[in-house]
């Protein structure tokens, strides 16, 4: 695990300061080292999985993508996130590792269902308008919608092990809304300058970076809440 190796010395250095700071401020105990490791791994691997998915999923405009592409792309994301949960949460959470595969199944089924209904595979799609305002608006609407759909599927996978797991649904929806709107905005600006469709791919890479980072924070928050231990 490259990210573990990279993160470990940094985390070892900052953990004592963070724990002391938490005590001074009266915050709840948070296992910073494990949490940050999970966040780093989750963020890095989710983003790399998206980049890897571009080898076999062709980014297109709305309704261009097939069910198979949605399943493959979503499946790859779900696969790496499952592995991340397996390694990180084996001892830290009641979400024990032999239940974590449900996350992958939920993610694949979530993407598949969304694609089947011509809503999904949004993570590999660009809007068919060049107007930046409409891009942002559509990003918020579609991102929020897809985030909620995925959130519901993933909530079904974790609801028995994680306290107040329902919070994942609005959290996922908000993350996707912000990230997709931001990514589409970046993609639109780049495309206006370069006149090349590759700009949309760059925009989606930015979007997936935001999704990975924010959802990583959400996952850490959900799985490391004290009542879960």
């Amino acid at each position: 695990m490259l990210f573990f190796n990279l993160a470990e010395p940094i985390l070892n250095a900052v953990t004592p300061q963070w724990v002391a700071f938490s005590h001074r401020c009266g915050l709840k105990h948070v296992p910073l080292r494990e949490g940050a490791t999970l966040w780093l791994g989750w963020t890095g691997l989710t983003w790399l999985a998206f980049v890897g998915s571009l080898l076999f999923v062709e980014v297109g405009e709305r309704s261009d993508l097939s069910l198979v592409e949605g399943l493959l792309g979503g499946g790859l994301i779900g696969l790496v996130q499952w592995q991340m949960l397996r390694f990180s949460l084996a001892e830290a959470s009641s979400f024990c590792w032999n239940q974590s595969y449900r996350w992958m199944v939920a993610t694949v089924l979530g993407w598949g269902t969304l694609t089947l209904f011509h809503i999904g595979a949004l993570g590999w799609m660009a809007p068919d308008t060049q107007n930046l305002f409409f891009r942002s608006l559509l990003g918020v609407l579609y991102g929020g919608y897809v985030g909620a759909g995925l959130g519901i599927a993933q909530w079904l996978a974790i609801r028995q092990q994680v306290v107040s797991a329902w919070r994942w649904v609005p959290l996922s929806s908000g993350i996707w809304a912000v990230a997709i709107a931001f990514g589409w905005l970046i993609g639109g600006c780049l495309r206006a300058v370069s006149h090349l469709f590759i700009s949309e791919v760059v925009g989606l890479m930015v979007a997936w970076g935001v999704i990975a980072a924010l959802s990583g924070i959400g996952i850490v928050g959900l799985f490391y809440q004290p009542s879960n231990r």
Partner: protein, 448 residues
């Protein structure tokens, strides 16, 4: 029935006992299978076409009917392109082209001093039988052989394209081992500038521009030179390579483009000067490279070689086409010393694909309406080469559509697009799927 039920129960039982690692392996395996299937453009369906090269163009072959309908071709190059280097690139590209109703491919076989097929001639000269990276990515099958096999499976004509013609990087093995084969300008410079090919001598690229060009040029060589097309040993090299291609591969012809020429600024090397002096009572060539008689003399010498090469191709492979893809006649003669009107008049050209890379539709149509082009159409099939874009110069599909329609309105034999990677990819203004749909509609049989 009971046995089946028992097997099913056992399978379910084992599934419950399966470990997470096993599930992970199965999931990973499914992804890899999907990856392979999608990347290769689906499983192969037909056996290999096994024919002698000279049998390919017989009347019972559907390829022979292509000249009766519209020619829909595309150039496949290795510059700024991955199609020749990815192991799955050729089948994927050809499969997509066939789906979009293309019927001709011009795959690169000669570029930057390297061949893209196994050449005994180049191995003897440079030590490399094929471009080194191609040897790595195609360890089992010669890329040209693969192109011909897969192309014919999809009823596409395969016409290998000697893209670089006489142009070579000055740091290539060929140029370094045979500096006497290079031709030079009046000031003794061997280096070729873009302006030598475009005719605008005032615009030399700035250092910054050169840097940007190199960054966007997919590792393009820093400095290019020009092999002397009038030198007998250079002519032997080209003849040998052409002979290898037409005699060893199941192809429909060969093609040369505007690099199969001599830029007007060149021709001041000792060999050419000596040849000129021998025929002009010891008089040196004019200092002005644009001198009309000097241009005529070099163009005629070059035309003689074209005639000999055409004859050689026809002796080796009577059914192979000698295809040429130059610029419009006046420009080609004036700046590249390609007198292709004479070549056509002498029946040395079987198929002409004129590069008309103009953004402005009026200028494009003006080229198509020229009398020389119309007269050539009476003798041989003439197609129009249309630029679909480069990484630095993306072209919207509307422009491409207008130019194809205009070519059809002028009753040309077809169109060819430069180049594969800008037909539909991320490096186009529209999404790849939208471009594919547009090409499918544009090239649909009904529209012809």
């Amino acid at each position: 029935m009971r046995l089946l039920f028992s097997l099913f129960r056992r399978l379910i039982f084992r599934w419950h006992q399966a470990t997470q690692q096993q599930i992970a392996l199965v999931a990973l395996g499914m992804f890899l299978c999907g990856l392979v299937l999608l990347s290769s453009g689906g499983p192969t369906r037909e056996p290999t076409v096994e024919q002698h090269p000279s049998d390919t163009y017989l009347s019972d072959n559907p390829l022979a009917e292509i000249h009766e309908s519209e020619i829909r071709g595309v150039w496949i190059t290795n510059v700024a392109s991955s199609v020749m280097f990815a192991p799955w690139g050729i089948p994927r590209a050809v499969h997509q082209l066939a789906e979009m109703n293309f019927n001709t491919v011009y795959p690169v076989v000669w570029n930057r001093g390297h061949s893209f097929y196994h050449s005994a001639t180049l191995r003897r000269l440079t030590g490399d039988a094929i471009a080194p990276i191609m040897a790595l990515t195609h360890p089992n099958e010669d890329p040209l052989e693969e192109m011909a096999r897969v192309g014919h499976k999809h009823n596409l004509r395969v016409i290998p394209w000697f893209e670089y013609g006489f142009m070579v990087p000055l740091n290539s093995k060929l140029a370094q081992q045979h500096p006497d084969w290079l031709t030079c300008q009046h000031d003794g410079s061997y280096e070729l500038y873009e302006s030598n090919l475009t005719g605008n001598r005032q615009q030399q690229p700035t250092v910054l521009r050169q840097l940007i060009n190199r960054m966007l040029g997919s590792g393009a060589p820093k400095t290019l030179g020009w092999l002397n097309p009038l030198h007998p040993e250079v002519q032997s090299l080209v003849s040998a390579m052409v002979n290898e291609v037409v005699s060893q591969y199941d192809i429909e012809g060969i093609q040369f483009d505007d690099h199969f020429s001599l830029p007007a600024a060149f021709g001041y090397d000792p060999f050419t000067v000596g040849l000129y002096q021998a025929e002009h009572d010891g008089q040196r060539p004019p200092d002005n490279p644009d001198d009309a008689d000097w241009i005529r003399w070099r163009a005629d010498k070059f035309s003689n070689f074209v005639g000999n090469l055409h004859e050689q191709v026809k002796v080796t492979c009577p059914t192979c086409l000698f295809s040429v893809s130059p610029n419009p006649a006046k420009f080609a003669y004036r700046f590249h010393l390609q007198d292709w009107l004479t070549w056509v008049a002498n029946d040395w050209v079987d198929e002409l694909v004129v590069q008309v890379y103009r953004d402005d539709l009026d200028r494009f149509e003006g080229e198509l309406a020229k009398e020389t082009l119309q007269a050539t159409m009476d003798r041989i099939p003439v197609s129009i080469g249309i630029l679909t874009g480069t990484w630095r110069r993306p072209i919207p599909f509307d422009q491409i559509r207008q130019q194809v329609i205009s070519s059809r309105d002028h009753h040309f034999s077809g169109v060819s697009f430069f180049y594969w990677d800008t037909l539909w990819s991320y490096f186009t203004p529209e999404s790849p799927q939208k471009r594919r749909q547009n090409f499918r509609d544009l090239l649909a049989e009904e529209s012809i």
